[in-house]
């Protein structure tokens, strides 16, 4: 039999949105099959139908192993041999690592949970993934990246015939990605089919065999990665050619507008790091998972207590005890975890856009919904956000579009200094490019940007300077002329004595 999985003529309608319109997908045993498409193309929706989380509209059919496949919940899907890593992370924060790995398929001995065996197996799996956490650690104490790795471990340790990975690498760095690929290759050898969703072009070409492309809920086509090149693939996805993936707009670099000196966090996750950024400059911060980059900017932003450190905005020393203080100085922080610190998921697009810059949406001191809507619509347009309207509940948007809402809500406040922590996480190529251009235009207007990213090509593409951190310390800096992947990686993995 040629296909392990065949989805034919699948449609799905949400109120106001036709998320999938008669699409198809064929997956062969032992292949890595990429799903690609812009944000909101319907990739996650298609996979959730496969998992039994959504019910598809009437019509269409799904064949698994040649037999009709009918599931109404994830348990049935898993029993059939389909597992999934979800795009929106689903950790149970108050449980330990080993409990999370085995949730829903607990190991048993004499009918009871076999805690010891679970811990042992978890330990093994964790080590194989190159993760350094104790299986007994609570997930609440881990970083987003570590949680993402736990999700990966959880899915690949299931005995499945098809594993769906919905943007598994959005929060992790190259080193972990390589380890993940190792696992994928081993699974392939065992004949397991992988459905791989990612917006990172390089990954698609290095690990996937075939690609299916979707656009606006429509099926565009399928091809093998050996026959397609990046340009063709992008064209299939966005419907037009994109030549420069990392456009760099030239801007005049002026005086230092923001400076943080010797930042030490009270919890010692950042151990004395300084940084400064100039008007018109894009400063990148690179490093491996756990380097403490997020911790640094969150400390600067007043989200955590600092035990030492001085912050200067436009040369003036400012005292920061809460985000409120630093926002008043014209600084913005697009945080790493949109679900936890970015969005009000139960609120509408309007509500979220108005969260920071509400003062800009007033008439006679009162909140003007019309103004808020116009502002939302402006950014929906500017950032190409796919939503039926500005009144949509943000929780219903696709992952990438949610990320764009976070960016929009901060940009509306018109900040002078913009700090972005993994801003392109889960964003499609076209939209990434839009964001780079947007950042470029901002620095042209005399603003300053600090961007944390785990994608080194991205940093090298648009930054003027890259600072690298390692284990909570500053480990070096590279200027645009000296950019090289090796240089940055060396600094990132510098062993401190």
């Amino acid at each position: 039999m040629e296909y392990i999985l065949e989805m034919k003529d699948i449609s799905k309608t949400f109120p106001g949105v036709k998320a999938l319109d008669h699409v198809q997908l064929q997956v062969r045993p032992g292949e890595v099959h990429a799903l690609m498409g812009e944000n909101g193309a319907g990739k996650s929706t298609l996979m959730k139908i496969l998992m039994g989380i959504y019910t598809r509209d009437a019509g269409g059919e799904i064949l698994f192993d040649g037999k009709p496949y009918m599931v109404s919940n994830p348990k049935e899907a898993m029993d059939m041999g389909v597992a999934m890593i979800h795009q929106e992370l689903n950790p149970i924060l108050d449980m330990t690592v080993y409990e999370n790995i085995f949730v829903g398929r607990e190991l048993r001995k004499n009918g009871l949970v076999d805690k010891k065996a679970e811990i042992e197996q978890a330990q093994k799996l964790i080590e194989e993934c190159g993760l350094h956490v104790s299986p007994k650690e609570t997930l609440r104490n881990l970083t987003v990246a570590q949680c993402q790795l736990i999700e990966i471990i959880k899915a690949i340790s299931v005995n499945a015939k098809v594993i769906i990975m919905d943007e598994p690498t959005a929060a992790i760095t190259d080193r972990e990605v390589e380890l993940l690929f190792g696992h994928i290759r081993r699974l392939k050898e065992k004949g397991v089919a992988i459905i791989y969703i990612s917006h990172r072009m390089a990954e698609i070409f290095s690990i996937c065999d075939r690609v299916s492309v979707y656009r606006d809920g429509q099926y565009i086509g399928t091809g093998t990665t050996t026959e397609l090149d990046e340009g063709q693939l992008i064209k299939m996805m966005v419907g037009r050619e994109i030549t420069d993936v990392y456009p760099k707009l030239e801007a005049d670099i002026g005086e230092v507008v923001f400076e943080a000196k010797n930042i030490v966090r009270a919890d010692n996750k950042v151990k004395g790091v300084s940084l400064s950024v100039r008007r018109g400059e894009i400063l990148g911060i690179g490093g491996l998972v756990g380097a403490g980059r997020s911790e640094l900017v969150e400390g600067i932003f007043g989200m955590h207590a600092l035990s030492q450190g001085e912050i200067f905005v436009h040369g003036k020393r400012v005292k920061i005890s809460s985000p409120e203080d630093i926002i008043k100085q014209g600084v913005a922080l697009i945080t790493e975890d949109r679900k936890v610190t970015g969005l009000n998921l139960s609120g509408t697009v309007n509500d979220n856009i108005a969260m920071v810059a509400i003062k800009k949406l007033l008439t006679h001191g009162l909140y003007n919904k019309g103004k808020a809507r116009r502002a939302s619509e402006e950014y929906i347009e500017k950032l190409n956000i796919k939503t039926p309207s500005a009144d949509q509940i943000v929780g219903n948007l696709s992952g990438g579009n949610q990320q764009k809402i976070v960016i929009a809500k901060w940009l509306l406040n018109d900040p002078d200094i913009i700090i972005l922590d993994e801003p392109t996480r889960g964003i499609d190529v076209g939209a990434k490019r839009d964001i780079y251009l947007l950042l470029g235009n901002l620095v042209r207007q005399g603003k300053a940007v600090i961007m944390i990213s785990s994608e080194i090509p991205e940093l090298m593409g648009i930054c003027d300077r890259i600072m690298v951190m390692c284990e909570g310390n500053y480990s070096g800096e590279v200027s645009r002329e000296e950019f090289s992947q090796e240089r940055i990686m060396t600094l990132a993995s510098a062993i401190k004595v």
Partner: protein, 315 residues
């Protein structure tokens, strides 16, 4: 097609309203005197105190909290008001003192929750018990009698046939709706309840916002206490037992989400009318107290069930 789906989504948003109308129609058929003006005035009066409490509660719940103490606060402030409302001071003195008393309880709750990081349930359960004790203590466990005629007149009088109590309710509704939907403060209340951390990171002083929502609930409980004493002409330390439940029910029935961030003032108005109409309807039909309990419980659950199902059909 698009028109139709829009009409559908409108109906599903205002579904509880449809349920409410249906209930009114049923009650009218069963007992025509239900719809008589005299009884409608009764309903307005009966809805007032719970309505005012529910609006305070709405702020707290939308901001992600929960307040068990409002019933006790009504009793406590009612006693304060009765003590000062014996005619020795102008009528606004008991009003102000009652509202300040309520405010104080609310601020204590808010500080406990927002600064002390206590779960709202436990914090307000604590004040619920303690404030009830306080009410008993200052009244020595006995009802306070002897309030002045002008104080009694506050609740007993009407303007153009509309009872004063209802006027207070309407003012509260208008003010609260305005604050929630039109002011920066109101939007921030939603933001706090929707995602506290995100609100904080967005530069909102969430501590202040959360304290203030409890303060509003307390303030309105104080107002209710003042009105309660005027309505029943005495102040009982045991009054308003479990009124917080009715207030919370009105909110939830009206579509305010217990997890915070979601809820519309008009929904709470309907929720509160629904509860009052059920009690009033059962009373005038002469249903025995035992059956009333069963029926009331069932109707509330059914109303919310139909509402939830009506909304989710949309998907």
């Amino acid at each position: 097609m698009k028109e139709k789906s829009r009409a559908k989504s409108l109906i599903s948003e205002y579904f509880i309203f449809v349920i409410f109308i249906a209930l009114v129609v049923v009650l009218t058929c069963l007992k025509p005197s239900f719809i008589q003006p005299a009884n409608l005035v009764n309903i307005l009066k009966q809805a007032s105190i719970n309505g005012i409490l529910a609006f305070g509660m709405m702020f707290v719940i939308i901001a992600g909290g929960f307040d068990m103490s409002v019933g006790s606060t009504v009793a406590f402030t009612g006693i304060l008001a009765a003590m000062l409302g014996q005619g020795q001071y102008p009528i606004f003195v008991p009003l102000i003192v009652a509202m300040l008393g309520g405010l104080a309880v609310g601020v204590v709750n808010g500080v406990g929750v927002a600064v002390g990081n206590l779960p709202p349930f436990i914090m307000t359960l604590g004040t619920m018990t303690a404030v009830r004790g306080l009410a008993l203590l200052i009244s020595d466990g006995k009802p306070i009698i002897g309030i002045s005629e002008s104080y009694k007149a506050v609740a007993a009088s009407s303007i153009f046939g509309i009872p004063m109590l209802a006027v207070f309710l309407v003012i509260t509704i208008l003010l609260c709706s305005f604050v929630l939907s039109k002011t920066v403060y109101g939007r921030r209340v939603y933001a706090c309840g929707g995602n506290l951390l995100a609100a904080q990171v967005s530069g909102i002083n969430t501590t202040k916002i959360r304290i203030s929502t409890f303060a509003i609930a307390g303030l309105l409980a104080g107002l209710s206490g003042f009105l309660m004493t005027s309505r029943v002409t005495i102040a009982q330390p045991t009054a308003a037992e479990s009124y917080e439940m009715d207030a919370i029910t009105a909110c939830v029935v009206g579509g305010v989400s217990m997890t915070g961030g979601v809820g519309k003032p008009w929904g709470v108005v309907i929720g509160c009318l629904l509860i009052t109409v059920i009690a009033n309807g059962l009373d005038i039909m002469g249903v025995s107290s035992h059956w009333q309990k069963i029926v009331k419980g069932a109707i509330i659950v059914l109303a919310v069930l139909i509402d939830v199902k009506g909304k989710s059909k949309k998907r």
